[in-house]
């Protein structure tokens, strides 16, 4: 033992502290950094490709006729998708009227009234599960519940199917926004002798409003772009809607129907309708961002 200690002379080699550009570590770093930049740029390409196609192909046919006229039949020229714009707006409106109040009330229960109860825990979990549900299942569900019962495809059924999709999104987003309201503010309200409803109406909702609105608007934007749930609930119609209890056109179904047609006129209209739909959805997105920015100061 002692021999070894004696024989090992203290040979300490100090490493150079200079940067060595041929070092394998350095090379790996550069390579990975280029990779990750490449990934980020490549991932942005589809968005720019989609948007430029929409502007070039869709923009070419956007005119007053396209926005107001009804869809053309087979070999017809011209036409438009005015009825589909109205249909989309009406059905998204119906869905909002159902899902927003319901979702916000449910969120109040989850965030403020009884956050740790069994009902809240299960409900929160199922809402998350529901956001990952295939949207077509909402359509099939509403087909079974409304279309078969009433005997007709309708704007009602389409709106309800969209509401099923919006409900969990609105609920979870609103819950998140309400949780952002500082506990101190809620304490202050409770400390003054507010009932739970008064705490909510006077403090939580006004303070959390920007966040809640952001979530709601994003949910509306998502619903506007949905098509699978409308396939067998609202179906489609070539005419302007006269009542809510009849098959109704929507932009997304029009794009789906026209995309596979062997007619240039219809394909052009599908691009224009896509442009309108994307502009609608992006407007909602921008609105949501603007509203979200006006968050309360702490």
């Amino acid at each position: 033992m002692s021999e070894i200690i004696q024989s090992s002379a203290p040979v300490i080699q100090y490493p150079s502290l200079e940067k060595n550009s041929l070092d394998i570590r350095e090379f790996k770093n550069i390579f990975l950094t280029i990779m990750v930049w490449g990934i980020a740029i490549m991932a942005s390409i589809p968005l720019f490709s989609v948007i430029s196609m929409l502007i070039i192909e869709g923009g070419a046919r956007i005119d007053f006729a396209a926005l107001t006229e009804i869809p053309p039949a087979g070999f017809e020229m011209g036409g438009g998708f005015g009825n589909a714009i109205i249909g989309t707006l009406v059905m998204v409106g119906i869905a909002s009227l159902i899902s927003i109040p319901f979702g916000i009330m449910a969120a109040l229960h989850l965030a403020i009234l009884d956050p740790n109860s069994k009902v809240a825990t299960v409900s929160r979990f199922l809402a998350k599960v529901l956001t990952g549900f295939p949207s077509i299942l909402a359509g099939i569900f509403v087909y079974g519940v409304i279309v078969i019962t009433t005997g007709t495809y309708s704007a009602w059924a389409g709106g309800v199917a969209l509401a099923v999709l919006m409900l969990p999104t609105v609920t979870l987003a609103a819950e998140e926004a309400m949780k952002q309201v500082p506990q101190r503010m809620k304490d202050a309200a409770f400390g003054m002798g507010c009932t739970r409803t008064q705490v909510i109406m006077k403090v939580v909702l006004p303070t959390g409003l920007p966040g809640i609105l952001t979530g709601v608007i994003l949910a509306v934007a998502g619903a506007a772009g949905e098509s699978a749930p409308l396939l067998f609930t609202a179906l489609f119609s070539n005419y302007y809607m006269a009542e809510l209890a009849e098959p109704t056109a929507s932009l997304s179904i029009l794009i789906y129907n026209f995309s596979g047609m062997p007619f240039d006129n219809q394909i052009e209209l599908a691009w224009s309708a896509s442009l309108v739909l994307v502009v609608l959805v992006l407007l909602f997105n921008i609105l949501a961002r603007l509203v979200g920015r006006s968050k309360f100061k702490e």
Binding site: R25, E26, N29, L32, T33, W37, I39, A40, M42, A43, S44, P46, S49, V50, M53, L54, M105, A106, H109, L110, V119, V122, L126, K128, V129, L130, G132, F133, P134, I136, L137, I140, F141, Y143, G144, V145, P168, G193, T195, T197, Q198, G222, G225, E226, S227, A228, L231, F232, L235, S252, I255, Y256, S259, I267, A270, S274, L277, V278, L282, N285
Partner: protein
């Protein structure tokens, strides 16, 4: 009446008063309604499962488990099997997961590990978020008229040069698995990226500091410390992204070709459960609708399992960093 034993006894000058009977009424009604709405979400899920299940019941009785292993879908013969659709659903989602996963995690690293100036980072972040905002049908349209023509020369070359590789064993003659899976990858990328970004941001700064303090390079910190620490969160993102891919309907119905076919080839047409529903339902007769309901139930079960798994992993991750709650 409102129970207030204090008013008389307390100091005469106080302006305190109990809530009015009206306030109490409002409170009770309001809370009951909120409770009802929260329960309604539970009831809704139960109702969806029950409704689809009961509509599918006749088909379950007729076809039994043979429905899942059968490979023919022929309404005229009354023969229904969804094995090709299950195959197509899982296969397309898996390819999408591999591509979308690599890109999603790469972007999460790019956005959280200070590669770019904050302003440019915001640009990229917004781009990825907007990727999620584009409606499915628009991706479908883009896939038909941009992606498929773009892929065809490359696919042709791969097929001619490597036709002994199962992946390239057929030609891409139009719609097929490759364009469908690519579009799926684009669509799940924002989900994977968002959840992974979240997982990275949850890591306390001191962990990174400790790694740098030991003389690790930026990439050593990322690969050996940050990535393993965020791994369970990233896994949750991948599983939830996979769940999204399984249920995606419109873009697939437009791009995959809707042919009942079990093949490894990336360029052959295929079918998925969701696109089977979308393309067949509108013209289906009663018997076929029942079979479609059965297919919907299969889709429901698969996505339910995948989503619950993803959420469970996500909650496990949150607890890991926030302490038990």
């Amino acid at each position: 009446m409102v129970h207030d034993p204090f008013k008389q006894a307390s100091s005469a000058r106080t302006l305190s008063a109990p809530p009015s009977a009206n306030d109490y009424m409002k409170d009770i009604v309001f809370r009951a309604f909120a409770y009802f709405c929260a329960s309604a979400i539970i009831l809704l899920v139960v109702y969806i499962v029950f409704e689809i299940g009961s509509e599918a019941l006749p088909a379950i009785k007729t076809h039994g488990l043979g429905f899942i292993t059968g490979t023919t879908w022929d309404a005229n013969k009354g023969e229904f099997g969804v094995l090709p659709e299950i195959w197509g659903t899982l296969y397309s989602a898996l390819i999408a997961l591999v591509i979308g996963g690599v890109f999603g995690v790469g972007i999460a690293i790019f956005l959280t590990q200070s590669f770019v100036h904050a302003k440019l980072e915001l640009v990229f972040r917004t781009t990825i978020e907007l990727l999620a905002a584009i409606p499915s049908v628009v991706y479908g349209l883009w896939g038909i008229y941009v992606l498929i023509p773009l892929l065809r020369p490359g696919a042709l070359w791969l097929h001619e040069t490597f036709d002994w590789v199962p992946l390239f064993s057929t030609e891409l003659s139009g719609p097929g698995l490759a364009p469908a899976a690519l579009v799926l990858a684009i669509m799940i990328l924002p989900t994977v990226a968002a959840i992974s970004v979240d997982a990275f941001k949850r890591i306390p700064y001191r962990v990174k500091e400790a790694a740098y303090g030991m003389g690790a390079t930026k990439w050593e910190v990322i690969l050996k410390v940050m990535l393993p620490t965020a791994s369970s969160g990233i896994l949750a993102g991948l599983v939830l992204g996979f769940g999204r891919a399984l249920g995606e309907t419109m873009a697939l119905a437009m791009l995959i070709g809707n042919v009942n076919n079990i093949s490894f080839s990336l360029f052959s047409p295929a079918n998925t459960l969701a696109s089977l529903l979308a393309s067949t339902f509108p013209e289906a007769g009663d018997i076929e609708v029942q079979a479609l309901m059965y297919a919907a139930l299969v889709l429901l079960v698969i996505t339910f399992i995948v989503n619950v798994a993803g959420l469970a992993i996500q909650q496990y991750t949150m607890r890991k960093f926030e302490g038990k709650k």
